[in-house]
């Protein structure tokens, strides 16, 4: 199944410390002494080396690990916070629904990534701050989707029937409404991983992530930019890693979508 790409990437990300040939933070000393800007495929550097001679392949692997777990973490928080807000709003209706959705809409009416940049810049660049900032702007999307699904389900007479059967509000929400929204939220989330990877790489590119020398794909690409026209691999390889990661998760997301029969 294509959808199993998700656990496969997670497994690879977990095994990075074993898979990486070199320490991502320390320059590699070769027999010739100088290891600065070795081209890919030479002197045992699969993807070349950077200015101070660190192995780009190892740094990219660690970068993938950071990107992947960051993306999964933000998606999970979006699903949980957004799912909870959407479920409460959709299942309650009325005033609670209005208030929660007004808040959600206010978030959605703002350009999320720009606000995230501002939040991180205010709090001071760090990976944790970036995760928090992105998570803060990311959940409303999920709240909207879940709420929409729940409202559609709440219009079905099976909810009326359950109410007449004397089912409690909690059970109504969790047994008669929530399961119907799960396919939508899972499909949305799995197709959203790629977006998030690219957005977070953009923030990291702006220097809004873990500070140097931490191996982050966006930051690595930004640092390599000044050597782009001479030693292209330092900038391009991390970019290609983001691309590959995003492509794989989109293909897997498509697999999830087909699995759940959504379009």
């Amino acid at each position: 199944m294509v959808a199993s790409v998700f656990p496969a990437i997670t497994l690879v990300a977990l095994l990075v410390p074993i898979l990486a040939p070199d320490n991502p933070l320390i320059p590699v000393t070769t027999s010739s002494g100088m290891s600065s800007f070795v081209a890919p495929g030479h002197h045992g550097f699969l993807l070349g080396s950077d200015l101070i001679g660190r192995d780009v392949f190892s740094r990219v692997l660690y970068g993938i690990r950071t990107s992947w777990f960051s993306a999964i973490g933000v998606i999970a928080s979006g699903m949980i916070i957004g799912g909870a807000v959407g479920l409460v709003a959709g299942a309650s209706g009325g005033l609670v629904d209005s208030i929660l959705m007004r808040i959600t809409d206010a978030f959605l009416a703002l350009p999320g990534p720009v606000i995230a940049i501002c939040v991180v810049a205010a709090m001071g660049p760090s990976l944790f701050h970036t995760l928090v900032a992105v998570a803060v702007v990311w959940w409303p999307f999920y709240a909207r989707i879940v709420r929409g699904e729940i409202r559609a389900l709440a219009g079905r007479t099976h909810v009326d029937a359950a109410r007449l059967a004397g089912v409690s509000r909690f059970r109504l929400a969790t047994r008669h409404l929530l399961p119907g929204a799960v396919p939508a939220i899972v499909v949305t989330a799995s197709l959203d991983v790629a977006n998030l990877l690219i957005t977070m790489a953009g923030l990291s590119f702006l220097g809004l992530g873990a500070p140097e020398p931490a191996p982050e794909l966006g930051a690595m690409a930004a640092q390599g930019m000044q050597f782009l026209l001479t030693d292209w691999w330092v900038a391009v390889m991390p970019g290609m890693a983001i691309f590959a990661l995003a492509l794989l998760s989109n293909i897997a997301g498509d697999g999830v979508r087909k699995l759940w029969g959504r379009s």
């Binding site: 079905r156 007479t157 099976h158 009326d160 029937a161 359950a162 109410r163 007449l164 059967a165 004397g166 089912v167 047994r175 008669h176 399961p179 119907g180």
Partner: protein, 720 residues
């Protein structure tokens, strides 16, 4: 196309000239004449539409659905042919095929021919099919809301088909749209259902088509509007000599509108012939059975309705014998020898049944009709109907007869219920006035039917009784266990991801019992609605429509409520399934002694299931009384109009106008703008329910009186 001459001979002559210039068609026509498989009045030569040996197979997942299996039909100029069948009979696929609009993704497998005016709608190039659709064909579909483009003014949509604004205007007028010129600037969502369907008809008539294919054109409409549309179609046939292929599941509608009927079963033609002949003396056991299971206004009461035995046809099978064989009460051994071909009964009648006329003659059909019509014990009525319903003694006698005390206990009391639903934003002040002071009483064990068209507030009243919809003002009191409800769309009323066992078990959550005991109760409940214990682990989507509705009923009654509320539980079901559900409800009611409130738009169903009947119009009860009495001797002009609009009963004089918008109901008697008896006083005063003697009952003593809210009702002289 030149404007067709009203003389049919000339038209046929034109067709002849055409066919001479197009050899394939004439060859085809001759072949039809020779093997005689193309049935219909006259030869296939002058037919505006014909199919021969048409088969269509859809791929649905891994299944192959054989929608049509060798169907040959013909529609003659100026003829209305009704194509009748239950869901899965392939009738809609046939209509789309003639239009050349079968779905393309995934494309079905098609064999045979489907010809319009000599052009093959299956194999011709797209441009030729399009030209035929433009010049020779019109189409009217079921749902007039979705069938019109929501972002285009209706005028523009008709002009697209008609070519010019003047032409569009005259078409809209021909389709009976009042103020057609101003209506052209409306968007579809600004029109009522009936007007939308008239716009569709205007569009279909553009370019003087030879044939209009109408796929369930009245199914989504109210009965009074349906009657108007059926009249319009008859009238258009008379004035324009347009042929109609009228696809419907409703036998009564077919009987009302058609010249000729084709009954479909399992993707094959079961029987065809002149409407009168087929409905008077159906030959095929399926046609006979369908007619017999139909719920009518003159059928016997307090007996079980006849039903069709067996399961609906499985059209994933290619038949090797008669498709109706498993359900046929008159089956003979030779019915298993191959699929029966259509054979000619007389000049114009064809039937696909090998049983000979003498085995089957006249009373032979009665054997089906009388089969197992066992009487069931209805819940005790509160009134002896032989007495005059309006005499006050009866009421006294009723209260005095302490032997029947339990049946005189009131279980539902609704007083002056009012409810409105705000439209759009809350601050706009516009609201649908669903209930405008409706009162109702239901006695223990009694069955009350609420009848009305869309916007009458009947469903809101039901939901108010259930407690699902709180009232704005007025009160609802329930005695005994809380009410349960059976919904119109059984599929939607069952939680899709829960198993049958979980759905039923949920009703027992409050009762402490072991898992084992609970399961036993669940299986017992399934048995009570004639479902096998094997479905307990199934999900709702694995059941058929009829099974789902029975499951919903089982859920409602497994802990018997004091009153069972039914919201059109039969209207989404096929004819044969509907009578099964009505029987089941009747039996459960007498077994469990529960009261029932049954909401329906169908007077015949109401009369069959109910002791007492309430007619609602725009949020008020306009008439109530013993069901049979209201149906045989209606008092309110609206009830009369409803009865007159029931199709298939010969007399047919539809009331004009449509149910008005419940956002701003007319002042006075809300029916007066449509009422043929209206006078000045009707727009000033709003009459309340009165007996024939003019006593106001104010909904507190409903019981057995025949109450009508109309100033013309018997007591008028006394009160004024």
């Amino acid at each position: 196309m030149a404007a067709p001459d009203p003389g049919i001979g000339t038209l046929a002559g034109n067709e002849m000239t055409m066919s001479e210039t197009s050899p394939p068609e004439s060859r085809q026509g001759i072949r039809d004449q020779v093997d005689g498989r193309l049935h219909g009045s006259g030869s296939g030569l002058d037919a505006v539409a014909s199919t021969e040996d048409l088969s269509i197979t859809f791929a649905r997942g891994r299944q192959r659905i054989h929608a049509l299996q060798g169907v040959s039909i013909a529609v003659q100029p100026g003829e209305i042919v009704a194509l009748v069948g239950e869901s899965g009979s392939g009738k809609s696929a046939l209509g789309l095929c003639l239009l050349g609009l079968l779905p393309t993704r995934p494309a079905p497998e098609v064999a045979g021919t489907a010809t319009i005016c000599g052009v093959d709608m299956l194999t011709s190039p797209e441009s030729e099919k399009r030209a035929i659709r433009r010049s020779r064909l019109g189409a009217v579909f079921q749902d007039p809301m979705t069938s019109l483009n929501p972002t285009m003014r209706v005028g523009a949509q008709v002009i697209e088909a008609a070519g010019s604004e003047d032409e569009a205007l005259s078409l809209l007028e021909a389709a009976g749209i009042p103020h057609a010129r101003t209506r052209m600037r409306s968007y579809p969502h600004e029109l009522s259902g009936g007007l939308r369907q008239r716009v569709m008809i205007a569009m279909a008539l553009a370019g003087e088509p030879s044939l209009v294919i109408a796929d369930e054109p009245t199914t989504a409409l109210d009965v009074t509007v349906q009657a108007q549309i059926l009249e319009l179609i008859r009238e258009l046939r008379e004035t324009k000599r347009t042929s109609f292929l009228f696809v419907t599941h409703d036998l009564a509608v077919a009987q009302q509108v058609a010249d000729r009927v084709v009954v479909m079963y399992g993707g094959r033609v079961a029987e065809s012939g002149p409407a009168g002949a087929v409905f008077d003396s159906p030959y095929h056991p399926y046609s006979a059975g369908l007619l017999d299971t139909r719920i009518t206004l003159d059928g016997p009461l307090a007996v079980e309705l006849p039903t069709l035995a067996g399961d609906p046809v499985d059209n994933s099978v290619v038949f090797s014998s008669c498709p109706y064989l498993p359900r046929c009460p008159s089956a003979q051994a030779r019915c298993e020898d191959g699929v029966p071909e259509l054979r000619q009964l007389d000049a114009d009648r064809w039937v696909a049944c090998p049983i000979s006329a003498d085995e089957y003659s006249g009373p032979g059909l009665v054997s089906i009709r009388s089969k197992a019509r066992r009487a069931f014990q209805p819940a005790p009525r509160t009134l002896d109907l032989t007495e005059s319903p309006d005499s006050p003694e009866i009421q006294l006698r009723g209260e005095a007869s302490d032997g029947k005390a339990s049946s005189h206990q009131v279980v539902v009391t609704v007083n002056d219920a009012e409810k409105s639903f705000p439209l759009g934003r809350r601050d706009s002040g516009r609201a649908v006035l669903a209930l405008r002071g409706a009162s109702l009483r239901v006695m223990a064990g009694e069955s009350v039917a609420i009848v009305g068209e869309s916007g009458s507030g009947k469903t809101t009243l039901l939901r108010a009784i259930s407690g699902l919809t709180p009232l704005d003002s007025g009160s609802v009191q329930i005695e005994g266990r809380s009410p349960q409800m059976v919904f119109q769309d059984a599929g939607s009323s069952l939680t899709p991801w829960m198993t049958v066992g979980d759905i039923l078990g949920e009703r027992l959550r409050k009762e402490r019992m072991s898992r084992h005991a609970r399961r036993a109760r669940v299986i017992e409940a399934l048995r009570s609605v004639e479902l096998s214990a094997g479905v307990v682990d199934a999900k709702p989507h694995q059941l058929s429509g009829g099974q789902r509705q029975r499951l919903a009923i089982a859920r409602a009654v497994m802990v018997p409520p004091s009153v069972l509320l039914c919201d059109e539980p039969t209207s989404a079901l096929d004819v044969s399934m509907a009578s099964t559900v009505v029987n089941l409800l009747g039996r459960l009611r007498s077994d469990l002694g529960i009261a029932m409130v049954f909401v329906t738009h169908d007077l015949a169903v109401a009369r069959t299931v109910a002791d007492r009947l309430c007619v609602m119009y725009l949020g008020r009860v306009v008439e109530e009384g013993p069901a049979d009495l209201v149906c045989s001797n209606p008092g309110h002009p609206y009830s009369i109009a409803l009865l007159e609009s029931v199709p298939g009963r010969g007399r047919f004089s539809p009331v004009s106008g449509e149910p008005p918008n419940p956002v701003n109901p007319p002042a006075g008697c809300s029916f007066h703008p449509r009422c043929p008896q209206a006078e000045a006083a009707c727009s000033a005063t709003s009459p309340c329910l009165k007996t024939g003697q003019g006593e106001e009952m104010s909904g507190l003593h409903p019981g057995d009186h025949h109450l009508v809210a109309c100033i013309h009702w018997g007591g008028r002289l006394g009160s004024s």
